[in-house]
Structures are given as structure tokens and as C-alpha cells.
Amino acid sequence: MKKISLTIIVFVTVCSVLEAQDKFYTKTGKIFFECTKSPLEKIEATNKSSTCVLDIKTGLLQFAVLMRGFEFQRALMQEHFNENYVESSKFPKSDFKGEISNNNEINYTKDGEYIAKVKGKLQLHGQTQDVDAIGKIIIKQGRVMANARFAILLSDYNIRIPSLVSDKLSNSVNIIIDCNLEPFKD
């Protein structure tokens, strides 16, 4: 009996160490967005330091991004983005908490491309909304690459477009996510 209990302890300890390797993460995930309406003025920005964690066992997927990390081509656009639209001093972070609903269809041990259906809640500008997206998981030599492309509406997140710029700024924002995940070790 004693031995069995000890075996359980050892087993659980080993399991919990192994469990850590079920998680993949990055701190340099790329998020690009674009909400151009007029071809004269491109409105787009990139953030190259978003955090992403994926638990391949459960399919749980989470993102976090600092709004001030978005870089625009034009400095003034970046100022207006932070000051007038997303109000990054009040709402410094945006995050997504969700899961890959078809996680059991993805074989993380075999190289290949898999379709991932992602469902979850996106928090932006203090507002939380449900988001659905079809992404792609690419397994290559022990690394996990996660890509997705989806759109959100600024009006869903309480971001108002002043009439003065309504011909330049689209209410619909296209978002492209590109993350290269590596195994997470404690």
C-alpha cells in the first residue's frame, strides 16, 4: 500500500512536469490590423510583441497585447490611435481568451497543416465580445505556428469614429495574427 501511494506521488509529479510541455507560447507574436476606407490613406499597424499561450491538451488559447505596442507608419496616426480611439492609458491591454473547438482533430505530434476553429471572448477598449475565427495551426519540427484572420467592428467595442474622418476610417477592422509558438518550460 505504501509503495502504491508513493508510486502515485511519483507518477503525479512526473505528470505535472510533463503537463508543462503541453503548453506552447510566444512573447513576440505578430498582430496586424487594417481599417482603411479610402485608398488615399492607409490605416494599418503592427504589434510584434503580443503574448500567446496555447494548451495543446485542452485547446485553450489566450492572447494579450499592449495597445501602445502598435506601430503605425505615421506618428500622428499612432498618437490619435492611442489618445482618441483605444485610449491606451485607460485601457492599456487587450486580451483574448478562448479555445480551439476542434482541438481533437489536430495532431500536434505530426508535422502538417490543420484548420483550427477558434471561439472565445475578445476584450478591447474595456468591452468584451464573442469572437469566432477560422485559423490555421502548422506543426513543424516540434514548433507550433498559429495563424488567423478575422474581422471585428469598432462599434462593438465602443470606439466611435468622428464624422470628420468617417470617409477614411472603416468601422470594420481586419486583423491578422501570426504567432510562432515554442514549448513552455517552467
Binding site: 503537463e19 499561450v53 489566450q62 507608419q73 506618428a75 499612432q78 468622428p162
Partner: protein
């Protein structure tokens, strides 16, 4: 003993499964806070007439057109001063994230001016940060108006003036920013022999943000050793900044004459107490000269 070991095993099982359901991000993210700079203390690189604690972003050019009209108390026959206007046109450039330069020309005395502004300390929060910004501005002015009395023996350096300014500013909150700017102004030629060539002054500037795109600004200089004879006053301006996407309009009332440091510190003959105030506006338009490269 057996029971204890079983209990430990059970406890271990429970906690490890709890761990698995914990917030994934919390396990990854740094516990320590990152250094974060306080940006956008003022909407423009000028409070109204003075240099603000903000700099132009690198790669941008600010085209500034400044107007000051006549005295409001000239009355309806002069359309409350709007019949008379002086202006300054300026081009400012953001060179690096801590350096900007600018040139301008005023119609008053046909005066050119140029300056260089550098930031030594940038206000930030987080580890190893300083809670205020420290900048220095140095500038020079050159009058090109013909001398009023050509019989006198003037030399070229008589046309020159210089100013040196330290700007200490802090963005206290999203709405409130304040700054102090001790200033030394040197004129090669003072109006009379009794007037000092070196003038010492301290400027105070502040803004109160009223909405996302409108702020109330104040700009005042106290002069320690003004000219003795000519009855000049300390310049004080109050106005609103309106941001309209590409432009910032600074609409204000002021007693200051002129739009560079030499003129408004030494030639402000108007007095707020007597109602000698003028309406003025600054128009600032920012152009991106050098675009930042973005990779998708």
C-alpha cells in the same frame, strides 16, 4: 503513516489539476512592471507661445502658421483688432526621438528665428524611471528690418538675440500637464543703455484636457529684470487647443506682442489689466516626411 501518504497523494492530484485550469497567460507573463513613458503631455510642441515638454516625433515636419491680430479693445471700427495681423511662419522637424529643430520668420521686424530642442530625461513609470521630463531649448533670432536711424553706427551682431531655456514638465494625469521653464534671453543690442542685455525669466505652462480633442492651455512668463523705461509687461496667453485629425488649432487671447521668445519677452507693451489683449491663432499641420517601415 499510510493515511498521510495517501492524503498527500490526493492533495497533489487535486492541486495539479487545479493548476491546469489556471489562467494560461498568468504563467507566462512577467511579474515585474515594465517601464512606460508618459507621452502626449501636450497636443503640440508649443504650449501657446512657449516650447512645451513635447517633441515632434522623428521623421515628421510641423508646418506652423501663427497669427496675432490687433487689440480687441480697439473697438468695432477696427473689427476688434482683426483688421491688423502679424504672423510667423515656421517649419519644425523631428530629428530623433529626443531632438527637434525649427526655423521661422515673423513679419514683426522681419525677424528670423531658429531653435534646437533636446530632451535629456523622459517622464516614465516603472523601474528606473524619473517622474518628470527635462528638456533644453536654445534659439537665436535675427532682425532684418532696416535700421530706423541709419546715421547711427550699427553692426551686424546688433541684429542678433539668443535664448536658453530649461523645461521641466510633468504630465500629472491624462488631463493635467504642467511645466516650468527658466529662461535666459540675451540681446546684443538693448533699447537703452539702462536696459540689461541679459534678461532672466521663468515661464509656466499648463494644459487641462477638456475632451479627447479639446484642451485649455495657459502660458505665462514672469520676468525678473524687465526693461526699466519702456513699460513692457509679462506675457500671458490663455486659449484652447482643437485637434481636428491632421491639424491642431490653438485659438487664444494674449497680450504678447510677437511670436518668438525675444519679442514677446522684451516688447510686450500690452497690459491685460487695461484690456490690451489680442486674439490669435496658431495652426499646426504635421506631415510625415519619413515613413516608418512596417513589416507584416
Amino acid at each position: 503513516m499510510k493515511k498521510i501518504i495517501l492524503l498527500v497523494a490526493a492533495f497533489y492530484l487535486v492541486t495539479s489539476s487545479m493548476f491546469a485550469q489556471d489562467d494560461l497567460l498568468k504563467q507566462i507573463e512577467d511579474q515585474g512592471k515594465k517601464k512606460e513613458y508618459a507621452d502626449y503631455a501636450f497636443k503640440s510642441s508649443r504650449v501657446i507661445m512657449s516650447h512645451s515638454m513635447e517633441l515632434l516625433k522623428p521623421g515628421t515636419m510641423d508646418f506652423r502658421i501663427l497669427h496675432r491680430f490687433g487689440n480687441v479693445n480697439d473697438g468695432a471700427s477696427e473689427f476688434f483688432g482683426l483688421d491688423h495681423a502679424t504672423m510667423r511662419m515656421g517649419f519644425d522637424f523631428g530629428i530623433t526621438k529626443n531632438l527637434m529643430v525649427g526655423i521661422g520668420r515673423s513679419t514683426n521686424k522681419k525677424e528670423f528665428d531658429g531653435f534646437l530642442k533636446y530632451r535629456f530625461i523622459r517622464q516614465a513609470t516603472g523601474p528606473h524611471s524619473v517622474p518628470f521630463s527635462l528638456l533644453a531649448a536654445v534659439g537665436s533670432t535675427l532682425q532684418t528690418l532696416k535700421w530706423s536711424d541709419p546715421s547711427k553706427d550699427y553692426v551686424f551682431p546688433d541684429r542678433l538675440g539668443y535664448y536658453y531655456q530649461i523645461i521641466i514638465g510633468r504630465k500629472f494625469s491624462d488631463r493635467i500637464s504642467l511645466q516650468l521653464s527658466p529662461t535666459l534671453l540675451h540681446r546684443n543690442l538693448a533699447p537703452t543703455v539702462n536696459d540689461p542685455n541679459d534678461l532672466y525669466a521663468i515661464g509656466t505652462g499648463g494644459r487641462l484636457k477638456l475632451s479627447k480633442r479639446i484642451s485649455l492651455n495657459l502660458d505665462y512668463y514672469y520676468r525678473f529684470n524687465p526693461n526699466t523705461s519702456d513699460g513692457t509687461h509679462n506675457p500671458f496667453s490663455v486659449g484652447f487647443d482643437f485637434e481636428t485629425g491632421g491639424h491642431v488649432f490653438q485659438l487664444h487671447f494674449t497680450n504678447a506682442i510677437g511670436m518668438n521668445e525675444r519679442i514677446f519677452l522684451t516688447e510686450t507693451t500690452n497690459d491685460w489689466a487695461k484690456g490690451d489683449i489680442q486674439f490669435g491663432f496658431n495652426l499646426s499641420r504635421i506631415f510625415q516626411i519619413k515613413k516608418k517601415r512596417l513589416s507584416e
